[in-house]
């Protein structure tokens, strides 16, 4: 019984959200506001049970790991948000997260983005037995990387030779974006089919 009610409710809200495709209407407004409210409530529930109980309450109260009082106190500085005079206190937890994140990030970006990509680019010709077409393609790959980087140079005006190279670069970028676009389409359609299957199969039992 509870499952059937659940399916009907789910179907109602599915249709309510779909109705936005036609135009904004009270059903969509109702669904949208409920979704926002519920999702925040869901976040509260998850954080309370998984984060607060799991990382703060159990370690400190049950396991006596009092060291975790320090991050708890830092986190409590977010309460400074509630009053105009103490609002600057929230900068402390923010600055701690930011300092750690950015400081740790710099070498990591060098490592994972720049050096890895550089290595992959430099080894493109290192495949024994490359045919003519493979060599041309690989050369094209290198040209693509070069010209597209030139597009991103901010110190140079896009005029003359630089302009031409940047233009070629943007063409490569566009082909890349087109590929991303094309790859995503099927995934989105299958999602839509999934929703329709829910409506016609699970809810209306029109298809077996």
């Amino acid at each position: 019984m509870i499952t059937i009610i659940g399916t009907w409710i789910a179907a109602f809200f599915t249709l309510a959200i779909f109705s936005f495709l036609y135009k904004d209407n009270p059903f969509y407004k109702f669904a949208e506001h409920l979704l926002v409210g519920i999702s925040v409530g869901y976040g509260i529930g998850l954080i309370w049970h998984n984060a607060f109980i799991g990382y703060v309450w159990i370690p400190i109260i049950n396991n006596h790991q009092y060291i975790y009082i320090i991050p708890t106190l830092i986190g409590l500085l977010y309460l400074g948000f509630l009053h105009k005079k103490t609002i600057w206190l929230i900068r402390i937890p923010i600055s701690i997260s930011l300092g750690i994140g950015t400081g740790f990030g710099v070498p990591l970006i060098f490592q994972t983005y720049i050096f890895t990509q550089l290595r992959e680019t430099l080894t493109v010709f290192n495949h024994p037995g490359m045919g003519f077409w493979a060599i041309v393609s690989t050369a094209l790959l290198v040209i693509g990387v070069f010209t597209a980087i030139i597009y991103f140079f901010f110190s140079w005006k896009h005029k003359g030779t630089v302009g031409v190279l940047a233009k070629i670069g943007i063409y490569f970028l566009m082909i890349g974006f087109g590929a991303s676009f094309g790859l995503t389409v099927m995934g989105r359609i299958s999602l839509l089919i999934g929703r329709f299957l829910f409506l016609f199969k699970d809810w209306l039992h029109l298809i077996g």
Binding site: A31, V36, S39, G43, I90, V106, T116, L118, E120, F154
Partner: protein, 587 residues
């Protein structure tokens, strides 16, 4: 000024703590045909082992195990590498040629062979993924072609990627050699459990010694009881009560009873008492254990097994037992180049910053999307409609979000000058508080603090699609004439930007999320691609100090291009040292 001095002092202090690099040799005891040729510490938690197999053609699978627990990676002879343990618990659904296989990831003896590589990266991505999962974020890794994700089931088809094995080939090798490399991960976990074992042993030993302490506490308790008894006696006598005798008798009885039970406890303990010699022995043992623990904390020994299976099945295999005593490196020398590059970039940036401070003018080319910002804000003012600013759906520690915060600072100033209404629904609570202050400050900056409206910046929800639903509602109801999308975006990008397009808003987007750029290009008037997002705030502010960092970015890119030209030229002429350096840098 003081701040700068403090920085220098801090920098010096940190540099002074750099310890000296040292590494201990590996002890190897090999049995069978599998020979350990070389090894290399990758970082604190892993070691790469290099094997030679003879004969090499009988092998189909290399397995690595430690006491049957650890089997984190598997290098397949055809060049593919499978890493286990790093996946989250759950089922992996593998599709190949129309057939589907479900593999339980806790089951390390999985039938995965040649189709899957780079689990590690997949895991890495899952950590960042928002709910519900974004399948397309995975496809960014070029070796994985299709992925479908539903609840806990990840399914993907991966291409063979020979570049992975290349990473483990320390010098530059031909593809047809007979070496195999294995990365042994989780040394840190092993060490942890090893140390915990020692600590437990010490605890047990210490427990045997506690007898002494117990005796002393019992004696103390008896003394306390005596004191109490005497005090009570005095009190009773002072009151001169009629029934004093009865009370005294009962009091004495109670006292005797309590003391008696304690004394019997003491006797029991005495029976168990161990002589001094034994006590000293235990103490010595504890000291030894503590010394060992100290050693173990520095380095520890593990034995592991590498088994090679034949192609036919389990018939032939050989095993290798090696005891390694890894002394973890203090400094990761593999990362030396990263260090040098980072420091180099920092120096370039600070030099440019200083020269800008001295008043040197720096040229930055026009960026179409950003030149249009003025027009976009002006349009909203003319139409008397609000400007909507979407700051992406990531956390404050995301560099894209940081860039977005900086951009809003500039846009809010322009909006404040014209007193155009501004709507900023935010996805993350921390980002929300920062943006609120940024906007308030912008109004103060241009001298219109009264025009600032408290509710123009607000938190909506962290849930990805709930956020998109809410923003769509705002777009159709408030009909903003200008919408900015700046920051980190996922699948929801098109939901918002198409709705914005339908209400006829002028839209300017900027993101470094490559999977979303095409959708912004299709639905927005202007799109800042990748790095342009990071240049935007400096560009909009026209502050020469900030513009100097854009210059630094250009120098960095120029360096990359130079390295590419040099590297390719050297590679093509058969000199491989740049690749050698790059391949030693861990992923």
């Amino acid at each position: 000024m003081r701040l700068r001095k403090l920085r220098v002092i801090l920098l010096m202090l940190i540099l002074l703590t750099v310890p000296i690099f040292s590494e201990k040799p590996l002890e190897v005891k090999a049995i069978g045909d599998l020979q350990l040729e070389d090894y290399k510490y990758d970082n604190a938690a892993s070691i790469i082992l290099k094997f030679k197999l003879s004969p090499d053609d009988f092998l189909s699978k290399l397995k690595l195990s430690k006491d049957g627990i650890l089997r984190t990676s598997e290098m397949l002879p055809d060049g593919n590498m499978v890493e286990y343990g790093l996946l989250p618990n759950g089922t992996v659904e593998i599709k190949k040629d129309g057939t589907t296989k479900n593999v339980n990831m806790t089951d390390l003896e999985s039938p995965i062979r040649n189709d899957l590589v780079k689990f590690y990266h997949i895991y890495f991505k899952i950590g960042q993924i928002k709910e519900p999962f974004n399948a397309e974020e995975f496809s960014e890794f070029s070796n994985i072609s299709t992925i479908r994700i539903a609840k806990n089931i990840y399914s993907y088809k991966a291409k063979k990627d020979l570049s992975i094995i290349n990473k483990f080939r320390l010098p530059y090798y031909k593809t047809d050699d007979n070496y195999y490399y294995i990365r042994f991960k989780g040394l840190d976990d092993l060490k942890k459990s090893y140390i915990e074992d020692f600590e437990n042993k010490i605890k047990v030993k210490k427990g045997e010694l506690t007898f002494e302490n117990k005796k002393n506490t019992i004696k103390k308790e008896i003394l306390k009881l005596k004191e109490k008894y005497i005090n009570n006696k005095k009190k009773l006598k002072a009151e001169k009560d009629q029934d004093i005798k009865k009370e005294l008798i009962s009091l004495k009885g109670e006292f005797n009873e309590e003391v008696g039970s304690l004394k019997s406890k003491l006797q029991e303990l005495k029976k168990k008492k161990i002589d001094k010699e034994k006590k000293n022995e235990i103490k010595k043992e504890i000291i030894l254990l503590k010394e060992e623990l100290k050693k173990a904390k520095k380095d520890f020994a593990i034995t592991f097994t590498v088994a090679a299976e034949s192609k036919e099945g389990m018939e032939t295999y050989c095993e290798l037992f090696s005891t390694i005593t890894p002394k973890v490196e203090q400094i990761n020398l593999d990362k030396l180049w990263i260090f040098l590059f980072s420091i180099g970039f920092i120096i370039i940036m600070l030099l440019l910053y200083n020269s800008a401070k001295k008043g040197k003018k720096l040229y930055v080319r026009a960026i179409a999307g950003l030149s249009a910002v003025e027009e976009a804000v002006g349009r909203a003012t003319e139409m008397g409609k609000p400007v909507l600013y979407i700051s992406g759906i990531s956390y404050i520690t995301d560099i894209q979000t940081l860039a977005s915060i900086n951009i809003l600072g500039q846009i809010a100033k322009k909006v404040a000058i014209y007193e155009t209404p501004l709507i900023v629904p935010v996805n993350d609570p921390i980002v929300y508080t920062v943006l609120r202050e940024v906007v308030r400050e912008a109004y103060v900056d241009v001298g219109k603090p009264d025009a600032y409206q408290e509710e123009s910046v607000f938190f909506l929800t962290t849930a990805q699609f709930a956020y998109a639903a809410g923003v769509n509602g705002i777009i159709v109801r408030d009909k903003p004439s200008t919408i900015f999308y700046m920051g980190s975006f996922f699948a929801e990008s098109l939901l918002m930007s198409e709705t914005g397009n339908q209400v006829g808003a002028m839209q300017i987007a900027g993101t470094a999320s490559t999977t979303q750029i095409p959708f912004f290009i299709a639905s927005c008037d202007y799109t800042l691609i990748g790095e342009e997002l990071f240049a935007a705030s400096a560009y909009l502010s026209r502050d020469p100090l900030l513009l100097s960092t854009i210059k630094a970015q250009d120098y960095g890119k120029a360096l990359i291009m130079l390295l590419m030209i040099l590297g390719l030229t050297l590679e093509l002429s058969g000199i491989h040292w740049i690749i050698y350096i790059l391949q030693n840098i861990p992923d």
